[in-house]
């Protein structure tokens, strides 16, 4: 598993603190996310995994009172620099949410949403992008006959793959997934996992998951987050290759968590 990863950092977090008003939610994160790999963020509920994920595309900006300290760099550039273009950042770093959230539009319009935003109007080009993205998200065969029907009529698993297709349509470099399977049944989950493994040759993938088996199955690297006590900030306890985390963790707390003794 490890040899599929070239050793080139895509994201680098150093000394990152996250505050919600006065409350410190994350403390001193250091993390190097390799490109063309799947990195899993695991840990008990409320430990800040999702908040950490949202630091990577600055979705935390949307929460009033949220503030980030430290440095988060994407390809060597600090994304929290004042001059950094957030719109450009989010184009490069796509996100899939916990609950499938297709727009109340047709399947076609959902996938074409991003390309249209960035000025693609030509119908043939759009058709190609829509087909290509749906195919990459392993959804094309199921929906090719009903592209004009509402996305909301799809099943939960299909909706989530549609959301992935929607993200793929703008050709991002990184895909962030925030517990993408938590609302799905095991079969739909399996399909998403297969899809992620397929996609990782072309994209850098960061996934937050509650499901340790999922992290073990799909990821190359795993970061284990934890809070010491209620009200404390979340910290990274251990970060290593997934293999090491699950077979030979260095920290005792990691071991206790992955063997299911707490959390």
């Amino acid at each position: 598993m490890d040899d599929t990863c070239e050793n080139c950092g895509k994201f680098e977090l150093s000394g990152v603190n996250l505050f919600y008003n006065g409350f410190k939610a994350l403390e001193d994160l250091d993390l190097k996310i390799e490109s063309c790999c799947i990195t899993a963020l695991i840990g008990p509920s409320g430990c800040g995994k999702s908040s950490a994920l949202r630091c990577l595309n600055r979705m935390n900006d949307l929460i009033p009172g949220a503030r980030v300290e430290g440095q988060v760099s994407l390809d060597g550039e600090n994304i929290y620099e004042r001059s950094y273009d957030v719109v450009e950042l989010r184009k490069r770093v796509g996100m899939v949410f916990q609950k499938p959230n297709p727009f109340p539009k047709s399947i076609y319009d959902n996938v074409a949403y991003g390309p249209r935003l960035f000025g693609i109007k030509d119908k043939e080009i759009l058709d190609d992008i829509v087909e290509g993205s749906l195919a990459s998200a392993a959804l094309w065969d199921e929906v090719k006959g009903k592209l004009r029907s509402s996305a909301l009529a799809l099943s939960g698993g299909q909706q989530q793959r549609l959301c992935i297709a929607r993200v793929l349509a703008v050709q991002p470099e990184v895909i962030l997934l925030d517990e993408p399977c938590s609302a799905l049944d095991p079969i739909a989950t399996q399909r998403i996992e297969d899809l992620l493994v397929e996609l990782k040759s072309r994209y850098t993938i960061v996934i937050v998951t509650h499901n340790m088996q999922q992290a073990a199955r799909v990821s190359d690297y795993t970061a284990f987050f934890m809070i010491e006590e209620q009200g404390d900030p979340g910290r990274i306890v251990e970060y290593d290759t997934t293999n090491t985390i699950f077979t030979n963790p260095k920290d005792e707390r990691t071991e206790r968590y992955i063997t299911g003794r707490f959390g």
């Binding site: 979705m59 719109v87 950042l89 989010r90 109340p104 991003g114 935003l117 959301c163 993200v167």
Partner: protein
């Protein structure tokens, strides 16, 4: 239904009393509207039988020679309503967007209170201000009488503003946050998100807001009467005086008898039908929304 035994007071089932009282109250509301429709229809019958529909829906209003055409007033109602909506809707939806999307929390509640207060301004006060402040200003600006369709439209725009703003605000707030997040996370700007996701998703609700605003504009009388002119003639420009159905009824009801009085009721009937049509429209739109969801 009565419970058995006990004292006289306990003998009466309270549940039963409450139920029946509410039934009677509900019946009274329905009865009220039925009586209104019946009475207006009955009073307008002589106009239909004696003057005839062709006379009533013509353009000539001249009771002395037996002409009771309401088309001028109908036109006046439609033009001032459309004018009021054209001016008021963008402003109202703009305010609703500002309130829900951009305004910081403290500014938001301040603005929301302001909109509520505007809804509470009595229409006579608004009309009086329109007559004493706005009309003279329009008069000098357009070099005309100042009263007419434009003045009425401006007043109506102000009057529909709180209605449309409040209902649009609810419609926009009802759009799930996840849609907006999804759009922003794709790299859309706020404005793109508003235009391409928020407004389309809220469209049925926004439509309901406009229709209810329209209902308000159609029925408004006092404020319009003060700034409309008045004149029994088609408007030839935005600032030429005319009449609406409501203002004509208001002006003539005191001194009319016989068929003329009945013709006024026929105008009232048209207004009633117009506002019922609005309600039907709202129902259709909201039903569509439920089916789409």
């Amino acid at each position: 239904m009565k419970r058995q035994g006990g004292s006289a007071l306990e003998g009466i089932d309270r549940e039963w009393i409450v139920k029946k009282t509410m039934l009677v109250m509900a019946m009274m509301t329905v009865l009220g509207i039925l009586l209104i429709i019946f009475f207006v229809a009955k009073e307008s019958m002589p106009a239909f039988t004696k003057a005839g529909p062709a006379n009533l829906f013509s353009s000539t209003w001249d009771p002395k020679s037996g002409r009771y055409g309401m088309l001028i007033f109908f036109t006046g109602t439609i033009t001032t309503t459309v004018g009021g909506l054209l001016l008021g809707t963008p402003l109202a939806i703009g305010s609703a967007l500002f309130l829900t999307q951009m305004a910081p929390r403290r500014v938001r509640s301040f603005f929301a209170r302001g909109v509520e207060l505007l809804a509470g301004v009595p229409s006579i006060v608004l009309g009086w201000l329109g007559f004493t402040v706005m009309v003279p200003w329009l008069r000098s600006a357009t070099n005309s009488q100042g009263t007419g369709v434009l003045a009425a439209s401006i007043i109506l725009a102000i009057m529909v503003l709180p209605t449309i703003t409040a209902i649009s605000k609810d419609a926009l707030e009802a759009v799930p946050r996840t849609y907006i997040d999804a759009s922003l996370a794709m790299g859309a700007t706020r404005w793109q998100t508003v235009r391409k996701v928020l407004i389309p998703a809220a469209k049925p609700g926004l439509l309901v807001a406009v229709i209810l605003g329209m209902g308000r504009a159609i029925g408004e009388t006092m404020a319009v009467a003060l700034v409309i002119g008045p004149a029994t003639a088609y408007p030839t420009s935005l600032t030429s005086p005319t009449h609406t159905l409501t203002t004509k009824i208001l002006m003539e009801m005191g001194e009319s008898t016989g068929v003329q009085r009945s013709a006024l009721f026929a105008m009232g009937l048209v207004l009633l039908l117009l506002s019922m049509a609005m309600i039907m429209l709202v129902r259709m739109v909201t039903r569509q929304r439920k089916e789409a969801a």
